[in-house]
């Protein structure tokens, strides 16, 4: 817990003064908010937040500390962290570390004690925008202006390829399933043995996706985002998985090409950025949402069954519904704004969802998709 004064400055000049949290220093990124009340550890370690300053709308964060099991990546990838109250204590049987300590250890600059609701309303009303967090030892207008300037100088999320940066650099095998935490939820993958092979493109992949693939009986090889179609096919997979990840999907042009080359060769399943890349490969376009969908309470309708899933989402870009040509069908829609939440190729075994069926954090309503994937092998 720090009493060092810090400030969050938005590119439009709005500022919030609070207390420094985590590492000392200055950071910049796109300021976004997520509405999940649980799962801050999963948020902190979700590579899709790369380049973003993440605001938690839930006010009490850090209560259960951080543990060795719930990380979605080995380390946090986000650019900065904003909370109303960072817990002064860690209380959970699995906790190893406090929020403040964890952020400091990983060099993540954060801020606490600001009116996160005011910030959220501002982002909602004016759209996500870049921001900067820095220390504010003296509260003078020069210091404030300097931070606002830093926010303005930060690169714009549109047109930014961030996936390449967070992707693994060499392929690796993944063996671990959900184990003791295997969800007792309808449709949860529960294969008796590992008898399928999947190559997973890493654009910033979350571990729980890998765990779910293992639960579905897959031997998973994770490959860097720039792996060629030929190299993938050399691995003789039963299916190809396109992961989530940060940044503008349209900027990852090489991956779009690779996916186009793989279409029809192997069953394809994409999540989040992977979904957007599949959409682009199928000729659709993507665009940026005003402030995105980030939370674990987003309702989605599966158009094939009519059933509603409460889903986990984390995306700022979306596949434009009008751009989807004859090649693909919309399979899932967001109940609130009607945005595209799922796509499937009309004839080929290729489908994707914008949301996160692996949840982590969030409800286990959409796990059936993993077996839908393996049943296409």
């Amino acid at each position: 817990m720090s009493e060092r004064r810090a400030m969050l400055a938005l590119a439009d000049g709005t500022t919030f003064v609070g207390r420094a949290l985590g590492a000392e220093g200055t950071t910049t990124g796109e300021v976004v908010f997520t509405t999940g009340m649980t799962g801050y550890q999963e948020v902190l370690t979700d590579p899709s937040y790369s380049g973003q300053i993440v605001t938690m709308t839930a006010p009490e964060i850090g209560n259960t500390g951080l543990n060795k099991e719930d990380g979605e990546d080995a380390r946090p990838r986000l650019a900065g962290y904003v909370v109303r109250e960072a817990s002064n204590i860690v209380s959970n049987w699995r906790a190893d570390e406090s929020l403040d300590g964890y952020l400091a250890r990983h060099g993540i600059v954060g801020i606490e004690g600001i009116d996160t609701r005011a910030l959220t309303r501002h982002l909602r009303d004016h759209g996500s925008q870049n921001g900067a967090i820095g220390l504010l030892p003296d509260d003078n207008s020069a210091a404030r202006e300097a931070l606002v300037r830093k926010a303005r100088e930060a690169p714009n999320m549109e047109g930014l390829d961030l996936a390449t940066g967070v992707s693994c650099k060499v392929p690796y095998a993944w063996k671990e399933g959900t184990g003791l935490w295997k969800p007792a939820a309808p449709g949860a993958p529960d294969a008796k043995k590992i008898d399928k092979r999947v190559v997973a493109f890493d654009f910033g992949i979350k571990r729980n996706i890998l765990r779910c693939l293992v639960d579905a009986g897959c031997d998973v090889t994770v490959v860097p985002s720039n792996t060629s179609a030929a190299a993938v096919l050399d691995l003789r997979p039963d299916g190809v998985f396109l992961s989530n990840g940060p940044g503008d999907p349209a900027a990852v042009t090489y991956a779009i090409e690779t996916v186009r080359a793989l279409l029809g060769k192997k069953p394809i399943f994409g999540i989040c950025l992977g979904h957007q890349i599949l959409g682009l490969a199928l000729g659709a376009t993507t665009s940026k949402l005003r402030f995105g969908h980030r939370g674990i309470n987003q309702p989605v309708r599966d158009l094939t069954t009519g059933r509603i899933e409460i889903t986990t989402q984390n995306h700022g870009f979306v596949v434009d519904v009008d751009s989807i040509g004859d090649a693909a069908t919309v399979t899932h829609l967001h109940l609130n704004d009607g945005s595209v939440e799922g796509l499937a190729h009309k004839t080929l075994p290729a489908f994707s969802v914008q949301y996160h069926p692996e949840s982590a954090a969030g409800p286990h309503d959409s796990l059936y998709l993993f077996e839908r994937f393996t049943s296409a092998f």
Binding site: A58, S91, R124, I296, P299, I308
Partner: protein, 1126 residues
């Protein structure tokens, strides 16, 4: 699936009278349900015995039956109405049980009524422990291991399986009697034998203990196609072992990782599917082992519950409304979220604030009650508070309770913890037998040393009680480590760490100068101005002036279900110390603020909420912008639909003033209504006026003239009205002297207490002397709570109007015109608190000219006081002489009853008058005296308080009421009794044990009963009197004469009715066991001769409501349509 077209008429069952465990929350859910079904075009037929409910307002249904909630009367309603469907999931356990009973009796099948919302199979699976266990195991979830024992050997075998400690739950005992915890082998035999002895079937359920595990609830909703959402997670601060209704709870869950929470969600979903809940809301409770995350399912309610009301208020998600719509065929995704308008109801609310609920207890009303909290719920109400952080919400909840705490304040200066610890441990040793509680004694507070306090606190916090959390804070104040407190209490360290933050702030404020950063920090942690003032050695006003000068003001945020992701259209507000105010922009409408009643307690409950809701409805009709302030999550008033704007806030001066100023800032605040929410808002009248806030209706001065004794005497003198002679004493000697002048019996009470607290009738000097000590102590306590420390406590002594008939009158006045709402004759004689006695409207035995005189006196009082709004007057009538006992220029507890009886919406009219209309303009000119008869009967929580005497007195103890309505007094009374406690008997043995002065009336009763074929049993004197009157009677021994005695006899099956009256305190103790035994065996009993006589008349008139009795049911709409006399 859209709404079902095959249904036309739907029957909705309410939950009956307010009792512990079933309160206003079911009026809230029933009202939402009735509104939702009507809005969908269905004909709603509603049954509820409780007249003080919004759901029984005739506008909410095509026909509203205020009838007993029994299979018999519901069968009659079904026979008459032929509904297509019955929706039982909004009326609590009562409605669910009735639906099941109607199904089992074949009534639903016979009349082709479909149960919607829950199937009989699902209800049985959820309610039956055995079936529930099987269901849980089937989906791979654990339940506490348990087994039924019929002997000590059985018990030994079961405990070998489940281990120590083990929980004992004797079957079929009321109030958890005989239950307990076996900690070790050494205790097993004694405790099991005791438990077996307590059970009428010699059966004990032995259950694995999960004491100290964390307790969670998930409020879930699902539709007919299996769509499912968690509306809210709730965490209990008190770990397992304390009933969730008695626990301080927090939403959302604070100490679970997402993985752990999702595990609970998966479990809840699996249980819902396995149980087969058709549609709607449900609640699943879990225990989580803090050491390893193990999960056990505790229970599941396949219906809307108290927690659903809390979850609705905590998140803004209208569970009952959605549940009603799901029951008639809609899917979740076909419904919109009312708050955002643009998003779907198929989602899980997310909140960016913290909600705490704090239960409110009434142990002071039940001397002898075991103060320890356990698996049996004991609280009578609750307050909820919203804050941006846990600390803020916690402290706001603490001050919302109105128990004299202005936050998490310290008891170190006022409480004698060593004495408390000793008393509590004594309680722990006292068996829950047939022994009367010891008399309350006056404890002299010693000045304990810090070490003594510390040691006492360690003992105290080990036992959950109403004040434990405050004691935990004091333990921290005295430097006991958090780790140790966690080990003793099982309270999660996270919560203790938050308390530490509050205490650190308190220390920083103590003795320090006020400084903006520090004060803002304190406000953000939920400190009230008073709390800051006490720490800093300032006055509350000084703190407020400083704070406002420094620009430290609350802003009002919105409850929006979505963490600000979408725009909220519903102005459901809470205060917090943040940066952006979200109060809606001003309109050109004039505003009225209505102050609610806060948490339910004995004497202030749903009746006042009913009045506040009516005011909101009425003023909205008049074109005002209505603004409600309340902190009780159970109520209809805190439904965001009820008023134009809802502030979910504590009802303290500071909080209310901030709201008034916020609303007055730009708009046109016409004024504040304080006279409808009971004492809570009424006591804010003066300070609000002083702060320049306009009060609508009767002036604060008029309220004073009615409440201040000297001014009241002057008022009556001026009008030439009589009242019982009385005087004020400062000490025991003074009291004795006054007693001599006035003569015994005397009604005595301490000053500065409310609701008949510690009011008593004394018959001789010995009783008076004993009383004076107690009264002074109570008065001191009350004054400490009210912080009126500068005044000396006094004792008020009044001539007791022995054998007087009490009469209540409700009227509405506009300053020039007075219209009588109703005159109610009490059935019990004077001396029983008006809130506890049964009453009849119109009066059934008073002569016409007495009633006329009572009305005239009421008019005179209303005019003289300048009443604008409601007024209630209590009279005593002896030999046709009338005495004014009390005048309350405000809404009374009887307002809803009168409205239901006469069809005249008194509270609505009063609200319009307060806002400036005249009665003539409103067309209210004549009193409506119905041709039918309505009887109100009170309902008591005695079964929840083993060890408490059931005898009635001047101190109110009922929690709720029912109404019987019929063409004759006898049938109306019979219905009321049936609704309150079950049907009167038609044959069997009646036990009499009455005081000498009641013997003549007892003989009248006995003769009637004898003629109807009842056999008579009586103790010594009563038996002899019956003999002399020529009545055959079996004589039984009194308890002190040894077994077999009267109490043994009451246990026998043939005894069907008990009539027992006493006066002097020794006799009361002697006969305690008679009343307790009657209660335990569930037999009807009467403790006043007047009520007993009325019961005999009802039985004679065939008005017992026993199955098959020819009693008609009829709706309020039909009763009200009958021409009434003017």
């Amino acid at each position: 699936m859209p709404r079902r077209e095959d249904l036309r008429r739907i029957l909705l069952i309410g939950s009956g009278p307010i009792v512990i465990g079933q309160a206003c929350e079911f009026d809230y859910s029933g009202t939402q349900g009735a509104k939702a079904l009507a809005a969908e075009g269905y004909e709603v037929v509603l049954v509820n015995s409780n007249p003080a409910t919004i759901m029984t307002d005739p506008e909410l249904a095509v026909r509203t039956y205020v009838e007993p909630l029994t299979v018999d009367s519901l069968t009659k309603v079904i026979e008459r109405e032929r509904p297509d469907a019955l929706l039982p999931t909004l009326g609590g356990q009562t409605a669910l049980n009735l639906a099941l009973a109607l199904d089992e009796a074949g009534v639903l099948a016979k009349y082709g009524v479909e149960l919607i919302g829950a199937s009989p199979t699902a209800i049985r699976k959820a309610e039956d422990r055995g079936l529930f266990k099987l269901a849980c195991e089937k989906v791979g979830l654990s339940v506490p291991k348990s087994g039924h024992a019929h002997s000590v050997e059985d018990a030994r075998a079961i405990v070998a399986e489940i281990g120590y400690p083990a929980i004992l739950r004797p079957s079929f005992t009321l109030g958890g009697a005989g239950g307990g915890i076996v900690w070790s082998e050494g205790e097993l035999v004694a405790k099991v034998e005791w438990a077996l002895a307590q059970s009428p079937t010699r059966e004990v359920l032995i259950e694995q203990s999960v004491l100290g595990w964390k307790e969670y609830e998930l409020e879930v909703i699902s539709d007919s196609v299996g769509n499912f959402a968690v509306v809210c997670s709730i965490e209990n601060i008190d770990p397992m072992g304390v009933h969730t209704g008695d626990s301080i709870t927090v939403a959302p869950a604070m100490t679970l990782t997402d993985r752990e929470l999702q595990r609970l969600r998966d479990g809840a979903r699996a249980i819902m599917r396995e149980i087969g809940v058709a549609t709607g809301g449900a609640n699943v409770q879990f225990a989580v082992n803090p050491a390893n995350g193990d999960v056990i399912v505790i229970e599941m309610n396949p219906r809307v519950s108290r927690s659903s009301a809390l979850a609705s208020k905590a998140t803004g998600y209208a569970i009952a409304k959605v549940a009603a719509k799901l029951a008639i065929g809609y899917r979740l995704d076909e419904l919109r979220n009312d708050i955002t308008r643009v998003t779907s109801a198929a989602f899980e609310p997310t909140i960016d604030y913290v909600v705490t609920k704090w239960p409110r207890f009434a142990f002071e009303k039940f001397p002898g009650a075991d103060p320890r909290l356990g698996t049996q719920m004991k609280s009578v109400g609750e307050a909820m508070a919203i804050g941006r952080t846990f600390c803020e919400a916690l402290q706001k909840a603490a001050r919302s309770l109105e128990t004299g705490k202005d936050g998490l304040s310290s008891g170190l200066a006022t409480q004698d913890y060593p004495a408390l610890a000793q008393a509590l441990e004594r309680e722990s040793r006292r068996d829950l037998g047939m022994e009367a509680a010891p008399d309350p004694h006056t404890a002299v507070r010693n000045e304990p040393t810090i070490d003594e306090q510390r040691a006492a606190l360690r003992r105290l916090i080990a036992i959950p009680t109403a004040d434990r959390f405050f004691q935990v804070a004091d333990a921290l104040r005295l430097g006991i480590e958090e780790a140790e407190i966690h080990a003793i209490t099982g309270i999660d360290p996270w919560f203790l760490a938050q308390v530490r933050r509050i205490l650190a702030c308190e220390r920083a404020l103590t003795g320090a100068a006020l400084e903006p950063t520090r004060v803002r920090g304190a406000k953000q942690l939920g400190f009230s101005d008073r709390q800051i003032a006490r720490a800093a050695g300032k006055t509350e006003t000084e703190v407020r002036t400083f704070r406002e000068g420094a620009g430290i003001q609350p802003v009002f945020s919105r409850v929006d279900t979505c963490g600000a992701e979408f725009v909220a259209h519903t102005p459901y507000m809470y205060s917090t110390y943040e940066t952006v105010d979200e109060t809606p922009p001003d309109t050109d409408r004039r505003k009225v603020i209505i102050l609610g009643g806060g948490p339910n307690r004995i004497g202030q409950g749903i009746e006042f909420d009913y009045c506040c809701v009516h005011a909101a409805f009425a003023l909205r009709e008049q074109g005002f912008e209505t603004i409600m302030v309340n902190c009780n999550p159970e109520t209809v008033s805190t439904d965001y639909d009820t008023s134009d704007r809802l502030y979910f806030e504590p009802l303290t001066f500071e909080d209310v003033l901030a709201i008034c100023r916020n609303e007055a800032r730009g708009g046109k605040l016409a004024g504040v209504i304080v006279q409808l929410g009971g004492q809570t808002p009424l006591k804010l009248a003066k300070p609000l006026v002083a702060a320049g806030i306009p009060i609508l209706g009767t002036s604060a001065e008029a309220i004073d003239r009615a409440e201040d004794r000297a001014l009241f005497d002057a008022l009556l003198g001026k009008l030439g009205l009589q009242r019982p002679k009385g005087s004020i004493a400062n000490d025991a000697a003074g009291a004795r002297q006054i007693a001599q002048e006035l003569g015994y019996p005397l009604l005595v009470r301490p000053s500065y207490v409310l609701g008949g607290r510690a009011m008593m009738i004394v018959h001789d000097q010995q009783e008076l002397d004993h009383y004076v000590g107690v009264a002074v102590e109570v008065a001191m306590e009350a004054m400490r709570d009210a912080q009126a420390g500068h005044q000396k406590p006094v004792i008020l002594l009044d001539q007791f109007l022995k054998d007087a008939i009490e009469v209540d009158v409700d009227c509405v006045a506009d300053g020039t015109t007075v219209v009588i709402g109703g005159v109610m004759q009490h059935i019990e004689e004077a001396g029983i608190h008006s809130g506890d006695s049964a009453c009849v409207l119109p009066p059934h035995t008073l002569p016409r000219h007495v009633v006329a005189s009572i009305k005239e006196q009421t008019r005179m009082l209303a005019i003289e006081l300048g009443v604008r709004g409601l007024m209630n007057v209590q009279f005593g009538v002896i030999n046709q002489m009338t005495y004014v006992i009390e005048v309350n220029p405000r809404a009374s507890r009887t307002s809803p009853f009168v409205s239901k009886a006469t069809g005249v919406p008194l509270a609505k009219i009063a609200a319009k008058v307060m806002a400036g209309a005249t009665l003539t303009e409103l067309g209210i000119v004549d009193e409506v005296v119905p041709r039918h008869v309505c009887v109100k009967e009170s309902v008591f929580p005695f079964s929840k308080f083993p060890g408490v005497d059931t005898i009635l007195g001047p101190e109110m103890r009922s929690t709720g009421e029912v109404m019987g309505i019929a063409a004759t007094f006898e049938v109306a009374f019979g219905k009321a009794i049936t609704a309150a406690s079950g049907p009167l008997p038609t044959s069997g043995a009646v036990v009499f044990s009455v005081r000498d002065e009641d013997k003549p009336v007892a003989i009248v009763c006995a003769r009637k009963l004898h003629r109807m074929g009842f056999t008579l049993l009586a103790t010594g004197g009563t038996a002899a009197a019956f003999g002399r009157a020529g009545l055959p009677c079996e004589s039984v021994q009194k308890v002190r004469d040894g077994s077999p005695h009267i109490v043994d006899r009451i246990r026998d099956k043939d005894v069907v009715l008990v009539i027992n009256t006493t006066t002097a305190s020794r006799e009361i103790r002697d006969s305690y066991a008679i009343r307790r035994q009657s209660l335990l065996t569930g037999k009807p009993y009467f403790t006043t001769m007047s009520a007993a006589l009325a019961a005999c008349d009802a039985i004679q008139a065939g008005a017992t409501c026993a199955p098959g009795a020819p009693i008609e049911v009829r709706s309020l709409q039909e009763w009200h349509a009958k021409p009434a006399s003017g």
